[in-house]
């Protein structure tokens, strides 16, 4: 187990390192000086040059990278150029919005996909099955940002009081205010999650233990919930893990549409202002979240399905193949 954990941690660090480097290189390549953007058209060249040297923009890349990592190891994400505030503080203000939105959307995905999948899988190919899949797959075809705009129009014209999600995270208002953006993110992913669970259930149904349970005299719903459903959870949770990562990406885009003060909007401002420390900080955070989610998926699966637990190396390996095959299948479904 320790070996497995160490290995995972090592992988995580390498991934993060690569991401940080990619952002560094990206910023070397794109045109635009943060100093000039900050000071505007009326500033003199000397002024811009002075600020650039203060910000250390013309330092050689290895030196910059070195400096950044030294700071990072001390837990210092640097100082935002545009906002003239520490990156940590800015992320602290914005992250709760993105995280709550993503979690809200994620809960909606589960709440919608589980019952629908159970209904659909009851009788494969039935009218109910087909209509559920037709509707959810239609929503899958609509890009979330477009869905957001449609939802906004609907809710605005119907006066449900679910207007734009601006406002505080405090109180019950949150559920109401974030409903639309969360739904916009969730809807297109419901189809993915549902399809996954439905297929798994149908597959499980064909297995012998189901027949044995029927033979034992267990009721239909008992078999469905206590035998089949549980066994179908492994691929579903794996799929949810991938979806959760995507939901974070999605909430960043949706924040733009609903103008929520989260990480997505902050990231756009940061890139537009060529605010390197802030961009880097946000990307590191998002990458870390995605990596951790994937890691957790492995663990949860082992908890659900004891067969995946066994010996260290073997389990990692088989789990990896299992996950990969699901991933491939999952991708296939999306396309």
């Amino acid at each position: 187990m320790t070996r497995y954990l160490l290995k995972k941690a090592g992988q995580m660090l390498i991934t993060l390192l690569l991401i940080v480097l990619i952002v560094f290189i990206m910023f070397e390549l794109i045109p635009g000086s943060p100093a000039r953007i900050m000071l505007g058209m009326n500033a003199s060249q000397e002024q811009v040059a002075a600020l650039e040297s203060e910000l250390g923009i013309h330092e050689p890349l290895p030196l910059k990278i070195n400096k950044y990592f030294v700071g990072l190891l001390q837990g210092d994400l640097g100082h935002s150029i545009h906002f003239d505030k520490s990156v940590g503080e800015l992320i602290n203000e914005a992250a709760p919005v993105t995280f709550s939105l993503a979690m809200y959307a994620f809960v909606l995905i589960i709440v919608l996909s589980v019952p629908l999948a159970l209904l659909a899988a009851r009788k494969q190919g039935s009218f109910l099955d087909n209509s559920i899949r037709f509707v959810t797959e239609t929503t899958l075809a609509i890009p979330p940002f477009f869905m957001a705009i449609i939802l906004m129009l609907i809710f605005r014209t119907t006066q449900l009081g679910l207007s734009s999600g601006r406002g505080n995270l405090e109180s019950l208002g949150f559920l109401r205010k974030f409903f639309m953006p969360a739904l916009a993110i969730a809807l297109s992913r419901v189809a993915m999650a549902l399809e996954f669970l439905r297929d798994a259930i149908i597959e499980q149904k064909k297995l012998f233990y189901t027949r044995a349970a029927v033979g034992k005299g267990a009721t239909k719903s008992r078999i469905l919930f206590f035998h089949i459903f549980r066994n179908s959870l492994v691929p579903y949770v794996t799929a949810l893990g991938l979806i959760l990562a995507e939901v974070f990406g999605g909430s960043i885009i949706i924040e733009q549409v609903f103008l929520l003060p989260g990480l997505g909007r902050l990231l756009v401002t940061a890139v537009e202002a060529r605010d390197f420390p802030l961009t880097q900080g946000i990307i590191i955070l998002i990458a870390t979240v995605v990596i951790i989610v994937n890691f957790l998926v492995d663990f949860i699966n082992q908890f659900i399905d004891p067969r995946l637990r066994s010996s260290d190396m073997k389990s990692t390996k088989s789990n990896f193949w299992l996950k990969l095959s699901y991933k491939l299948k999952f991708r296939g479904d999306v396309e």
């Binding site: 635009g32 058209m41 009326n42 000397e46 129009l153 207007s163 734009s164 601006r166 003060p261």
Partner: protein, 537 residues
């Protein structure tokens, strides 16, 4: 059986939801087209009551100013540093204006009135300025304003503190020394060279000495005290009860709410979420006229179609002149700013008061433009207009220009880049054919705008070279006699037009929506949201 019923119910719900989706989409599309036609009628009839030709005014309504109340102002930009010397965005400066006072204050009519200075005086050659500093003024932290604070402020802004490399406010780089005379209670500023515009820069915020948290918690002497700033969300301020003027502000609290999208802000206005919204386009006014008054004002923008004078074909004055003749500016204004802009014939704009040379004219004559190009041997001219995509007004302007150029057989391709790229490639790199941009002036100082044509300046991104212009520019900087300065600036503008340095398009107007219960909203030739004068009726 029961289960089947349930199932059917769910299916029905889902299906009706789908129908609902499509139905609503359609309804909204219809609504939008209706709205569009309404808008055009609106602009044609010019129902908006405010006379755009009248500068800077106060809403005059019966009803005495009430003390108290709180107001929400919608703003569409993320703020940058709250430090008055580091804030670069006009959108930040207009907000933090309320925290500070300068030695002088710019008045709505463009004149300057003493503020933290009781009086001021300057030498005939405009190299020495003396300010008598007001006593009994307190900063928001309770400290008294001292001469040292004034000296510190000027030195910090001018980059004269030991640890600074360059002036934070570039116009102040010409300060030679700042000294205080405690007995007389005065501060004297000596300049390296004459600058008759210098007094206009003295609207500079005065800040307490050695206070290092201006960027997070700004402190000044102004009518409002900073209370809270949440990035991407809002900035709050409260009334300064110890304000040094004869009265404090009327309002108890002001919140600047950040909505980074003008269309979303319109939704908020329709719902009555904002009391003041400063960046309305006139086409939206109709939707809001029941709740809001509209105040028209000049902007501080000179929108130009900048031609790269060093690059073919614009290195040939004939081409520049022909193109100047091919553009119907009024049509452009009608299309892009819904008629709320003023045609410019010079590199300055009417808000620059008498410095603006209003006598210049340029004829619109596409036929002659076409024959001029033919005579000079230009056929099937292809050019590129590079515009910053973040500014819709410039992108739309470029598209209208491209359309108008077709008449004279010129093909223009509009290329949009992001603001950062525009600054580095077009503005600094000068690697472009032509661009549409607005030159802005922070102070009512004519040189800020015309510096863009001074050949020795970094800001001369159109690569305009005229020794005559340069001489006039230098002469104007050291001229203290107002009438003579005005004359020099008029001559400079004439040169710009005679040489067709670029195409001067328009001075776009601005509209501020103010909720009907408020009064006192004042506009200035400078881009600020002055909350001191605002009150509930």
């Amino acid at each position: 059986m029961v289960n089947k019923k349930k199932v059917m119910r769910i299916v029905l719900v889902i299906l009706s939801l789908v129908l609902f989706l499509t139905a609503c989409g359609k309804k909204d599309a219809e609504k939008d087209t209706e709205k569009d036609t309404d808008d055009t009628e609106q602009t044609d009839q010019g129902v908006i009551e405010d006379d755009p030709d009248e500068d800077d005014k106060v809403i005059e309504e019966p009803g005495d100013p009430q003390q108290g109340g709180s107001v929400i102002v919608g703003i569409t930009q993320e703020l940058d540093s709250l430090d008055p010397y580091l804030a670069a965005a006009a959108g930040t400066k207009e907000v933090i204006y309320n925290f500070f006072d300068g030695l002088v204050k710019l008045m709505p009519d463009g004149t300057f009135e003493p503020a933290l200075a009781e009086s001021f005086d300057f030498s005939d050659d405009a190299t020495e300025f003396t300010f008598k500093i007001r006593t009994g003024v307190k900063f928001h932290n309770g400290d008294d304003l001292t001469l040292d604070d004034v000296v510190y402020s000027l030195e910090r802004a001018a980059g004269m503190l030991p640890d600074s490399e360059a002036a934070l406010i570039p116009q102040l780089a010409i300060i030679e020394s700042v000294s205080a005379d405690t007995e007389a209670g005065t501060v004297t500023v000596k300049l390296k060279e004459s600058d008759a515009d210098f007094i206009t820069y003295m609207t500079l915020a005065i800040i307490p000495q050695d206070y290092t948290e201006q960027a997070q918690k700004p402190i000044g002497t102004g009518p409002f005290i900073f209370t809270e700033y949440k990035t991407q969300t809002h900035l709050k301020m409260k009334r300064n009860p110890d304000y040094w003027r004869d009265r404090t502000a009327y309002l108890d609290e002001v919140t600047f709410m950040i909505v980074p999208d003008a269309d979303a802000a319109i939704m908020d206005l329709q719902e009555g979420n904002f009391d003041i919204f400063p960046y309305l386009t006139i086409d939206k006014a109709e939707l809001l006229k029941d709740k809001y008054d509209f105040i028209a004002a000049d902007s501080n923008m000179v929108q130009i179609w900048g031609l790269n004078n060093q690059r073919a074909p614009f290195d040939d004055p004939v081409v520049r002149k022909a193109i100047n003749m091919a553009i119907d500016k009024q049509m452009l204004i009608d299309a892009v700013t819904f008629g709320e802009g003023r045609v410019l014939e010079s590199g300055m704009a009417p808000p620059m008061q008498d410095y603006y040379n209003a006598d210049l004219t340029s004829p619109y004559n596409p036929e002659e433009a076409k024959s001029m190009l033919e005579e000079a041997g230009y056929q099937d001219l292809k050019i590129e207009i590079t515009v910053p995509g973040d500014y819709v007004i410039h992108v739309q302007t470029a598209e209208v220009l491209a359309e108008q150029l077709k008449q004279i057989g010129v093909t223009a391709e509009v290329k949009t880049v992001d603001w950062g790229t525009w600054l580095s490639d077009v503005y600094m790199g000068r690697n472009y054919d032509s661009t549409v941009i607005a030159l802005t002036f922070d102070y009512v100082a004519p040189a800020t705008v015309l510096r863009h044509y001074y050949s020795k300046s970094d800001n001369n991104f159109i690569n305009f070279v005229s020794t005559e212009f340069d001489e006039l520019y230098e002469a104007a900087l050291s001229e203290t006699d107002h009438a003579k300065r005005v004359e020099l600036y008029h001559q400079m503008q004439k040169i710009l037009q005679d040489d067709a340095a670029s195409v001067f398009l328009q001075n776009p107007g601005t509209q501020t929506a103010v909720i009907k219960t408020l009064g006192g909203y004042t506009t200035y030739p400078q881009y600020v949201q002055d909350m001191y004068t605002v009150y509930f009726k």
